[in-house]
């Protein structure tokens, strides 16, 4: 089963926010994370797929059949809500059994199947407790069990980890991933946490201003972002405006950068991207892309150290494991990627 949205459009009243021409496919068994800043349209996308909003343009197909005009209850989707939305008056077991009850499964059978789901979520001991008596992580697992017990055609996760504290978030992340694999279910996972998205998803869709910017594997998104926004949103990035002044040279605020300019023409405005961890502390002196500079802010983060270096009229962010004093930095030409300059229309690929 898969989820496919095709040229999907939605607008709230006369406002600008909404969704604009989004085409996206989540294959069978695939986990697709949708990320972007608040107001980017990711929640709108989820509501449209769930059926809580009806699209004004485009199509939604679930499992290959058109679902755009079906009410939510007929879409056969498992949804985990941000605050879990467990029924407060039902025990954990009754919560999980409820979708089976709606489908006319007999009492004994639905209790057995709900019990199995709770067992695999390691919640058998808590089956008779009410949601208020469960921890956040336990509620989360009940919600996930309830969303999957009726074998829905696809799974939608709406910021499922945002209500958990940091310690439990990583565990739940792995749990969601393993359950999703086990069920082999197409999953749309909306989150504002890019680390969560990169670690859990097969592919990540980055959105901004109602438009899809890039839909790619986490690695591709990090290594080959299509524009400045994606580069800046996914991971830390040095982004320097510059101009191609000669073959193999881009002039920026920190000085001339040697890099591959074969895809560009002379005089073209570009944005030079390089990741902080690609920059290397180096001894002062000459060399390709070697710049002397003063360290502005030095943050010790345990396994790594992140500092800003003032070079020329610009600032370069560096990540390194080294604890030595730094007098100069070196930016390997191969680590530099040239992106198109920011346009007013954030239209992505």
């Amino acid at each position: 089963m898969s989820i496919a949205v095709d040229h999907l459009g939605f607008r709230y009243g006369a406002g600008t926010a909404g969704l604009d021409d989004v085409t996206l496919e989540v294959g069978p068994g695939e986990l697709c994370a949708v990320i972007g800043p608040s107001g980017c349209g990711k929640s709108t996308l989820l509501k449209l797929v769930a059926g809580f909003l009806l699209p004004q343009a485009g199509r939604i197909a679930i499992g290959g059949t058109d679902a755009g005009s079906l009410p939510p209850r007929a879409r056969d989707l498992g949804i985990v809500f941000q605050n879990y939305a467990l029924f407060p008056h039902m025990s954990a077991l009754d919560n999980v059994a409820y979708p089976l009850k709606l489908r006319g499964v007999g009492r004994a059978e639905r209790r057995r199947r709900a019990g199995e789901m709770l067992e695999r979520a390691r919640l058998s001991a808590e089956a008779d407790r009410h949601p208020a008596q469960l921890s956040g992580g336990q509620q989360q697992r009940v919600a996930l069990s309830r969303a999957l017990v009726f074998r829905p055609r696809a799974l939608l996760l709406d910021e499922p980890l945002s209500a958990l504290d940091a310690a439990h978030r990583a565990d739940m992340r792995d749990e969601i991933r393993s359950v999703q694999r086990e069920f082999g279910i197409a999953t749309l996972h909306v989150t504002h946490d890019q680390e969560e998205a990169l670690s859990i998803a097969d592919r990540v869709a980055v959105m901004r201003g109602g438009r899809l910017q890039q839909h790619a594997s986490p690695r591709e998104l990090y290594d080959a972002p299509v524009n400045r926004f994606v580069a800046g949103f996914v991971g830390h990035a040095n982004l320097l405006d510059g101009t191609v002044t000669a073959p193999g040279v881009v002039t920026t605020a920190i000085g001339p950068l040697a890099c591959d300019t074969r895809t560009q023409t002379i005089g073209a405005a570009v944005v030079a991207l390089f990741r902080p961890e690609a920059v290397r502390p180096a001894p002062a002196g000459g060399g390709t892309n070697r710049f002397a500079g003063a360290v502005l802010r030095d943050r010790f983060l345990g396994s790594l150290r992140r500092f800003d270096v003032a070079v020329g009229d610009g600032v370069v962010m560096v990540e390194t494991a080294s604890r030595e004093a730094v007098a100069a930095i070196e930016i390997p030409p191969a680590s530099i990627r040239l992106l198109p300059p920011e346009t007013t229309n954030p239209r992505g690929s």
Binding site: R73, L102, R103
Partner: protein, 257 residues
């Protein structure tokens, strides 16, 4: 600070204590405290047919008011909570809170004017008394229910139920009604307490044979002091049972949450 609290408590408790003393006092004329002790006022109250009838009327009106308030209040509160526009919600709120702001006297005059006509000659019936009590108490129930719906985030619970396959009826009876059970209970106990103690409106619209307890109680003040005290104590007891039940229901609700 503590002194003020105790003084205020004394101020609150003194009349009740005096009523209690007076209800057991044999005589109470020109003295600070009643003299002698007796149970004869309670016996007289028990034997008085008009008080017994009023007691029954009050209970019937109270129960009927609770039932009607629940049947009207729950769907109405749900409709207001689920209303699309914020403007509609605010307007509905102002409308249903009106009976709280408007004196019951005003409502009573309105009832007298409308229902003493030949087309709607229902003044003095128990039904009209119940209807009046519903109007007066509904705002309190609605307030409790709407607040609880917001607190529970009922809209999200319903969205969850709908995503699991529940239609409107299933959502209403499986999710909305049971998750509101506690606030419905505590709201209804408040309705019961208000209905039992209601005097202003009842005094204007009740028929002679369907007078509720507080209205008949007023008559007692023209008679023996001890008798009046005993009759008031009975009303106080009823009201206290209702408010204690309300507190207990609230505590149960907090334990659940």
């Amino acid at each position: 600070m503590r002194v003020v609290t105790y003084l205020y408590l004394l101020y609150l408790a003194a009349p009740i204590a005096l009523l209690a003393l007076g209800s057991f006092g044999d005589g109470w004329t020109n003295t600070l405290l009643p003299t002698g002790s007796t149970l004869r006022w309670y016996e007289a109250l028990w034997a008085d047919p008009s008080f017994a009838r009023a007691f029954r009327v009050s209970l019937v009106v109270c129960l009927a008011t609770c039932a009607a308030a629940a049947l009207i209040g729950l769907p109405l509160a749900y409709a207001i909570y689920a209303a699309a526009g914020r403007g509609i919600r605010v307007a509905a709120r102002i409308l249903y809170l009106m009976p709280v702001a408007a004196p019951a006297l005003v409502l009573g005059f309105g009832f007298v004017l409308v229902f003493s006509s030949d087309t709607l000659p229902w003044l003095g019936t128990t039904w009209l008394l119940i209807a009046g009590h519903v109007v007066l108490t509904l705002p309190y129930l609605m307030q409790t229910l709407v607040a609880d719906m917001r607190h529970l985030d009922l809209a999200t619970l319903e969205a969850a139920a709908e995503s699991l396959g529940a239609g409107f009826a299933a959502r209403f009876f499986d999710v909305v009604v049971p998750s509101l059970g506690h606030s419905l209970a505590s709201g209804l106990i408040m309705v019961a307490a208000l209905s039992i103690g209601e005097f202003q409106l009842s005094n204007l619209i009740a028929g002679f044979l369907s007078r509720p307890y507080p209205v008949v109680l007023l008559q007692a003040f023209y008679g023996a002091t001890g008798f009046a005290c005993a009759a008031t104590m009975v009303l106080l007891l009823l009201a206290m049972v209702a408010s204690l039940a309300s507190v207990a229901a609230n505590r149960a609700k907090r334990l659940m949450a």
